[in-house]
Symmetry: C2
Subunit: 469 residues, 2 copies
Amino acid sequence: MAGAAALALKDAGREEVDAIYIGVMNVEEFVGDSNFATLLADTLGLTGIPSTRVETASSTGAGVFEAAFYAVASGHLKNVLVLAGEKMTHLPTAKTTRILSEVIDRSERRYGATMPALAALVAQRYRREYGLSLQKLGEILAQVAVKNHYNGSLNPYAQFRKEITLEDYFKSQMVSYPLRLYDCAPITDGASAVVLTSEPTRIRVSGIGHATDTSAVRHRASLTSFNSTKEAALKAYTMAQLNPPDIHFAEVHDAFTLFEVIGTEDLGFFTPGEGWKALEKGTTLLKGPLPINPSGGLKSRGHPVGASGLAQMVEIVWQLRGEAGQGRQLEKAEVGLAQSIGGLGNNNIVTILERSDRKRTLTEGWKPDYHPEIKALKKEIVPPPTDGKGSLETFTVLYATPEGFRSPLTLGLIRAPGGELVMACNPDYRNPMELRMGQKVSLNMREGLYVFEKRSAWERLKSWWKKKK
Amino acid sequence: MAGAAALALKDAGREEVDAIYIGVMNVEEFVGDSNFATLLADTLGLTGIPSTRVETASSTGAGVFEAAFYAVASGHLKNVLVLAGEKMTHLPTAKTTRILSEVIDRSERRYGATMPALAALVAQRYRREYGLSLQKLGEILAQVAVKNHYNGSLNPYAQFRKEITLEDYFKSQMVSYPLRLYDCAPITDGASAVVLTSEPTRIRVSGIGHATDTSAVRHRASLTSFNSTKEAALKAYTMAQLNPPDIHFAEVHDAFTLFEVIGTEDLGFFTPGEGWKALEKGTTLLKGPLPINPSGGLKSRGHPVGASGLAQMVEIVWQLRGEAGQGRQLEKAEVGLAQSIGGLGNNNIVTILERSDRKRTLTEGWKPDYHPEIKALKKEIVPPPTDGKGSLETFTVLYATPEGFRSPLTLGLIRAPGGELVMACNPDYRNPMELRMGQKVSLNMREGLYVFEKRSAWERLKSWWKKKK
């Protein structure tokens, strides 16, 4: 973090700033330090300067940028150092997974749900809603991984500077069915920094939007898009007076490959369910008309959770200035957008940066052409019955379980007869091929957790007979 | 926290806000949740609203207020809910102490130093520098405790609503010599909330100042005042165009009784070393000319670490509005000041609130009459020798040790011949009467920690003889 700060201060030609804003997601548990904003100010040789830590889960890098932006925009501070980072690689993976899982609502985390497990539940639903075969979904996701690894191979700051092939993707191990290792952003140590100033510079902040969603994934009306991205995007476009077609390139939070596809849909770049078609057409390649993740994204640049949101902005600044370097520099780069996801899509931030020399005027009462469908939440969340039945809305088999959970672990969301979703596990199923979405299941409470089981034709006949009598 | 938020929203007559700013110091370790800003937005029924967590150690409540203030002052947000809290009482005290100790620089924490231990090192120095006997120091500190418990007895939101006597104080157990249980703010669950708005209201934010200091206590030029308070105060007075005599009352961060005395000196209310005289004269009583901690302070209102800074503002608002209630309501309350300490005095924030109907004008180029002496840091911190000698600058015997440390634990700061301070422990001394400040000690490295020992007259003679030869 000190290294990133030094580079940013040098780039800005400053030795002093009015304040420091620190973005770090969970330094308390990853490193065991608290009062971290003070420690960093002192470490940077900026003892005395006010220092504040800001956190919004895995969108922290964008959250700290937003807070610092308001501080400068208020006129009370002129020059602010924004510094974000995370140290993650020194712990055993199961412990890191456990710490990362604490962003998940307690009611779902206690089943052993991890971020990849919840992303897998989303992936299964995406596959079902848009009629994609398992093979087809794999091919789509593989293309995201191959593209972002290629972009990252050109980025000297990327964690993985190697290209991968479709074959590598399909050979990589299953983390949480149907998501493989190459679908998941890695565990990373890293930092990013920018200096925000009220003085004129080459880049200006055009738009910032920020929105939350339900803490629990099962309380959402849709699993295949994120309300929080859509609401944040609407605010950012409105503030910037821009529409999706005005954006030249974007950094999209690809913590999981599918999230890049969903992100490009939620941001209004592509029709819902068709983001993968644009991917297949090459639209989002470095040389395509709308490059996505020229930096290599979280997938290849790495995902130090607190830093990623700010690292996106750093890439955008380099691209806007024409400093991204041979191979990675985009031809048309005057307006860039960053989308950052906090938690499982429930604290999302969209930021638009623009070249200051780009001539355009702002209009009073401007309205965006982008009208996302924000799916309403259920107003009342009915507590589900302790025993009952339902249908299997989505499921995954999790192989990389957190500390304290046996692997593999089958998790599902069950649609109860009242319409609400219930998280449930099953310790017996180990083969995802034994389950299919939409099938009828029974739901029982065992030791405080819901357990689901397939209902055989015979059981369903018995139940029908009983009801008939 | 939901309860405090509901009361603040009701008081403001609002059901919706543009954003939520959450202050919580270490929810990760106290409660085991991350992504807490999202969880709270959802819990409050404000799902969708942007929610950001801000943290500055134990001044978090003031830090989150500052960040939210800038957001509103920027013009980008109109109404913001600021909500701060901490849940602490459910863990064993040794574990809570260990978590709280993580705000201390790692180089000092590894000796077993806790917040009360470091505060005791400060208290010993204060006693030495201003020539106060142990008995006299106790009498001063007892008066802070008695005053704040009396004020708290009138506050329906205080954790302890009981008065205490000087006798109770002297009977209370020693936590870290010379500080007793009644010198230390308690472990508390609590929350506070305010709504900030760009619309005209009865109260306005006149001044905010924020400053840091060295992470390690031993790197400071002075132990008996806090540069961070003085710098923060100077900024707040300058922004507000006010001077210390203009303040009608203040909430001062009395995490330890002595910190109230030091705080009133650092804020420019009293001459350094004479804060206790004002206390003895009754100046800081509810009926005195400059009431300090009318709420009961951290000592009696309680110290839920993330919430305290904001709870101070809530008290100030009630006092300014004349709503503090029978007994506690101050007669003259048009300008109030809150001072909040992060860590051991290294992330401090001063906030000044004022009645909006108070008539005064702001002047271009206004300069404060308050000119605090900011003690310079040593520019170069010389690593101390592994063996050597020095003099005992200050010491304490810590009885309430953190998880993993034997009680009692003797800790000292040793002034090495090069002038730098070295933290050292001694497992053999258990009686503070065996040590005195200023005495010569030897310093040895054992198992990676400095251990100090008294040098006897005979040892000093030997050393002198050796040097002479």
